[in-house]
């Protein structure tokens, strides 16, 4: 029988599948993954109860492969998409995601842009979820017990602003673990956030603003956040020269461990609310 070999292979694989599903569905941990999407940002968050958020989606289709790696194949939904701001290297992957995944809600800062990519994103979002939600300081997304994503910025209507300045800044807190996610926020916003409430910025993990560009990561901001780990989400040999040497120097001064997606690929953290581990764990 010619089918014998394929059939045997098939049964072995079916077995593997069943065990993968069983293995996947336990563990009382929060997963935060900084996805390797080349030059751009994409952060995937999965709560212990299975709630999922994707903050930014890189510039194109790479994010689909990164998600395929981190999500089980039968999981075809993401609860919340957050577009920190309308630049292509942050929202470029969203139209395809909105086509392929069942999405619960889409959040954006409310700054406009007339690029074709932003129009495609808006159109796909409205088709999928009806409308987008504007992120404003003080909003809290309760993901699980003791697990909250808090919006720190914008605290006002940024309609006509320069897009980076309008970036959503959010802080994820789970027990004693904190992640500060800053989009492409420039130095003036970092300083503004310091002036609003500097103590609330302290976090274990910081995603350095604007892929490590010198327009972000002011030394005083870094000192206030005092992260154990700093993520730089940038592409290999990108044409912008990110991360900038001066930013790397400031980061060395605060003795944080620098993790770069251009060197390490996707970077995954897990925490049970008490201990933070960098995967492979």
């Amino acid at each position: 029988m010619f089918l014998k070999l394929p059939l045997t292979l098939f049964l072995i694989l079916a077995n593997v599948l069943v065990w993968t599903i069983i293995y996947d569905s336990n563990q009382n941990v929060l997963t935060v993954a900084f996805l390797d999407v080349g030059q751009g940002d994409a952060i995937f968050i999965e709560a212990p109860n299975g709630n999922q958020i994707l903050i930014d989606a890189g510039s194109g289709r790479q994010v689909l492969r990164a998600l395929g790696q981190i999500m089980p194949f039968y999981d075809r939904s993401i609860d919340l998409l957050i577009a920190t701001h309308p630049d292509a290297d942050h929202i470029g992957g969203f139209p395809e995601i909105l086509k392929r995944y069942e999405v619960g809600m889409v959040m954006e800062p409310g700054v406009g842009s007339d690029t074709a990519t932003y129009q495609a994103f808006r159109q796909a979002a409205i088709q999928a979820v009806g409308t987008t939600t504007l992120a404003r300081r003080g909003m809290k997304v309760a993901l699980d017990s003791d697990l909250v994503l808090e919006i720190l910025f914008p605290d006002q209507d940024p309609t006509d602003w320069e897009t980076n300045t309008a970036s959503i800044v959010a802080r994820l807190t789970y027990g004693e673990g904190e992640f500060l996610l800053t989009g492409d926020s420039p130095i003036k916003i970092e300083k503004y956030l310091l002036s609003l409430d500097g103590r609330r910025l302290q976090s274990d993990v910081l995603k350095a603003g604007h892929h490590g560009s010198k327009t972000s990561s002011a030394p005083e901001f870094l000192a206030a956040v005092a992260p154990k780990y700093t993520i730089i989400s940038a592409g290999k040999n990108n044409r912008y020269g990110h991360p900038h040497v001066s930013v790397l120097e400031s980061l060395q001064k605060i003795a944080t461990r620098i993790l770069r997606t251009d060197e390490l690929g996707t970077i995954i953290f897990q925490t049970d609310g008490a201990t933070l581990t960098l995967c492979p764990c």
Partner: protein, 448 residues
């Protein structure tokens, strides 16, 4: 017509095309060959003329026809006059399915009244499709052959594109979308259907499995990404993703089996129509076109009750393709590789199979023989182009090819079945497992 006469015509024509592909000696040469043909014809009419005169007559006649055919297809005079290095505005149609890469989308654009096409590199949004009428403003640059970073050899990229009438490219032109749906009606409908099917696949299947399945089933140029494409290349398995003749022959055989309940005439006609529609839908690349034409020959043989000889089917298919576009002979690697691999399967596989008597299980022996034959047949081509095939391509093909038909089956089922109450997972899970297995093999083999 005798067999020898047919061979004479075929080789004369192909030789003419071949010669013209390298040298353009212009009209005087063609006249010379025509003159030779006339002389030969004249001689062959004389009483007791030796056979050689008739052979020569046919050969020279079709040799010059080969040159003429190539001349008609050659646009280099027009191309020389094109405006470059200054901003130009052109309006025209998108004449191919866009190739959506990670960051950029590649389009083939034909300006109105132009004999040549242009390769456009545009951003992924707005999403453009076949048949869109555009006005593009940008700078044309001539496409050039380049040096391969790995082998240092010249990659004949420009020659390859020139074979399909593309000589120039335009990066990130300003685009105004003027109208939709001005392409050929049938193609538009087929591509629409394909988009719907691939959309269903993408909704239930994660990447890169979705792109792999899209390639295996419909030859979709969905982006696997450079990293995976490179892995497939290294593992010697890129041919399955771009829809090889192998995939098409599986589809053709399945169509015939499914139509088994019909009367013979009807079955053959419907099969021929279905196979042509499928070939058009997948974009009619050289390998699929070759397989499609060979399938036609097979159907015709069945209809007329003649014996099907694969070598003749291959020669007819290749000849037809060269007549339609003489440039594929020398400039299209896809055509050459597909021809060689098929020739290997037809001629070498039985010989190798006979030597593999020690493999007792016959399906394994056949598979081994076919894989070895195809690899052996394309080996000289790669050597000529300075590319050393990994010896691991053999185990990679042996591990992957047997499950390709099953993977295609579940891939198609995923697209065709409505997603009723979770039942779709009965086909999605197997499709995912099979493609994950293929990806795992490719990743493993490519890592050596």
């Amino acid at each position: 017509m005798s067999r020898d006469a047919i061979l004479c015509i075929t080789f004369g024509f192909v030789a003419g095309v071949f010669a013209r592909s390298f040298f353009n000696l212009g009209w005087p040469l063609i006249f010379l060959f025509l003159l030779l043909a006339v002389v030969a014809v004249g001689q062959s009419f004389l009483a007791r003329a030796p056979r050689a005169w008739r052979v020569a007559a046919l050969f020279f006649l079709f040799f010059s026809l080969g040159i003429l055919r190539f001349d008609l297809k050659d646009q280099s005079d027009f191309v020389r006059t094109m405006k470059r290095l200054e901003t130009t505005t052109l309006s025209g149609l998108i004449v191919s399915e866009p190739e959506r890469r990670d960051q950029k989308t590649q389009l083939i654009f034909r300006p109105d009244h132009s004999p040549v096409k242009i390769l456009l590199f545009v951003s992924p949004y707005p999403e453009l499709i076949y048949g869109d009428r555009l006005q593009v403003t940008g700078r044309l640059t001539r496409i050039k052959n380049f040096q391969s970073a790995d082998t240092g050899r010249t990659v004949a990229y420009a020659d390859y594109l020139a074979a399909s009438e593309i000589y120039d490219q335009m990066f990130e032109p300003k685009i105004v979308l003027l109208a939709h749906g001005e392409g050929w009606w049938l193609i538009t409908q087929l591509y629409k259907l394909k988009t719907v099917w691939l959309g269903r696949l993408a909704q239930v299947m994660p990447e890169p499995a979705a792109s792999l399945l899209a390639g295996l089933t419909l030859g979709a140029r969905e982006s696997l990404g450079t990293e995976w494409t490179e892995r497939f290349r290294r593992a010697g398995l890129l041919h399955i993703v771009v829809l090889s003749g192998y995939n098409l022959s599986i589809v053709a055989a399945t169509i015939l089996t499914l139509l088994g309940f019909l009367a013979k005439r009807k079955r053959l006609v419907i099969a021929a129509v279905a196979i042509s529609l499928f070939t058009m839908m997948v974009g009619a690349g050289p390998a699929t076109l070759r397989a499609c034409l060979m399938a036609f020959v097979a159907l015709l043989a069945q209809a007329t009750g003649r014996r099907y000889r694969a070598v003749w089917a291959l020669i007819i298919a290749a000849f037809a393709m060269i007549v339609v576009n003489p440039k594929v002979l020398v400039f299209d690697p896809g055509f050459q590789l597909s021809f060689l691999a098929t020739l290997g399967l037809i001629v070498l596989a039985p010989l190798i199979g006979a030597k593999l008597g020690f493999i007792k299980w016959s399906p394994a022996r056949e598979l081994m023989a076919m894989t070895l034959a195809a690899q052996l047949a394309v080996f000289p081509w790669f050597l000529w182009h300075g590319i050393i095939l990994s010896p691991l391509a053999l185990p990679a093909n042996l591990l992957v090819l047997p499950i390709v038909p099953l993977t295609m089956l579940f891939g198609f089922l995923t697209m065709f079945l409505p997603s009723l109450a979770g039942l779709i997972w009965l086909v999605v899970a197997p499709a995912w497992l099979l493609s994950t297995y293929i990806l795992a093999v490719v990743k493993l083999i490519a890592s050596f």
